[in-house]
């Protein structure tokens, strides 16, 4: 009788589908940050292509928004690799761990998506107007740093959730 109760409560905490949530956390963190980074690269890249025709000498300075969009993809990669290292079969991986990892991935993912969107839009308009007024470069960099930091906030929470000890 006691064995049954113990095994039922173990099945309640370690059901066979517990690693699914962890795997979806990895998927969320890598996919959503990559969507943000891809959006930032594409939108800023088309801005660079437009301004390069007018001012070819400013192209190298204009690549900074694209680099910052790439960094957002790296945030997602970091959290994905960290969470993947913790995934295990449900004998040792409880469903609580699964929820923690799922929302670690979602937090960095959605933040990265929003940050990539912001970096892309600011980069696009920034490089287009920098071609008309080159002194805007410093202003564009300042705004881009604030947009990038949004992704960093998601990374902080993602890593903090990963280090939370849940059994």
């Amino acid at each position: 009788m006691r064995d049954t109760a113990e095994s039922l409560s173990r099945l309640d905490r370690n059901p066979p589908y517990a690693p699914f949530y962890g795997a979806m956390g990895v998927v969320a963190s890598s996919v959503l940050t990559s969507i943000g980074a891809a959006y930032g690269t594409a939108v800023a890249g088309s801005g660079i292509a437009s301004t390069a025709v007018m001012r070819p000498e400013l192209v190298m300075k204009s690549i900074i928004p694209v680099v910052m969009a790439g960094i957002i993809a790296i945030y997602g990669l970091v959290v994905s690799v960290l969470i993947s290292g913790e995934l295990d079969s449900s004998l040792k991986y409880s469903v609580r761990k699964g929820y923690v990892h799922l929302f670690a991935g979602v937090s960095v993912g959605v933040s990265g998506l929003a940050a990539g969107y912001a970096v892309g839009e600011v980069g696009d308009m920034g490089v287009r107007h920098m071609a008309l007024q080159p002194r805007l470069f410093i202003g564009m960099i300042l705004v881009l740093i604030f947009a990038e930091v949004l992704g960093l906030y998601g990374l902080i929470i993602g890593i903090y959730l990963y280090t939370v000890d849940v059994k």
């Binding site: 890598s30 690269t41 890249g45 190298m60 993947s84 079969s89």
Partner: protein, 212 residues
């Protein structure tokens, strides 16, 4: 006109799906069968082969869709810009190759993932919890890896295509600009590579089969 039809069809599908899901869920909840609406039941009782093969299929198909959308964007710009500047046509094939590389990432992942499909007997799995948990875990991992790689490559391909289109048109205006905008495309391609790394690393733990 086409955009209106598209929005109407999309919204019809979406609202119909939401309405059916709500009505079905409420029916189950209101008639005392609420515990049957269970994500956990679905996840535990579905076959790991389904998840694994879904992951393999999605990894290659979504990557190819991304590459195709990218080649569509780049190719039309190359051909359009080449009307007044035919010299761009050979150099800008590099942009098309970057998009193709995205599809190849998906292909590689699908081949690696299908190498991890192993047979396991359901009797052994259902009688030994350790083997069942390992196989179910591997099914979810392969699905997650394939889905991650597929979706990342989908959006990476679109981005590389848009940048490649910009590269072609600015190359048509000024031949020295192509190499500079190629740097932006390389950053775009790196996003697909990150997805590949995540996919391959995630499946390094999966182990299907009859042995523990």
């Amino acid at each position: 006109m086409a955009a209106q039809i598209r929005t109407v069809v999309t919204q019809t599908f979406l609202y119909l799906f939401l309405a059916v899901a709500t009505i079905l869920t409420l029916y189950f909840v209101m008639t005392g069968k609420g515990e049957r609406v269970s994500v956990g039941w679905f996840l535990a009782s579905s076959n790991p082969y389904m998840w694994a093969c879904l992951g393999i299929g999605l990894s290659v198909s979504l990557s190819v869709v991304g590459a195709a959308l990218g080649i569509h964007t780049t190719g039309t710009s190359i051909v359009g810009g080449g009307v007044k500047a035919p010299r761009i046509k050979t150099k800008n094939l590099i942009s098309v190759i970057f998009c193709e590389a995205v599809a190849i990432y998906g292909l590689i992942t699908a081949i690696v993932l299908s190498g991890q499909l192993e047979q396991f007997s359901m009797e052994t799995a259902l009688s030994t919890p350790a083997i069942q948990n390992t196989n179910w875990f591997s099914g979810y991992l392969i699905f997650g890896a394939g889905l991650a790689v597929g979706l990342v490559n989908l959006f990476c391909g679109i981005a590389v295509g848009i940048v490649g289109s910009g590269a072609a048109l600015s190359d048509a205006a000024n031949a020295a600009l192509f190499v500079k905008i190629l740097i932006v495309e390389i950053f775009g391609s790196a996003i697909g590579l990150f997805g590949l790394i995540v996919g391959i690393y995630m499946t390094s733990k999966s182990k299907m089969g009859d042995k523990e």
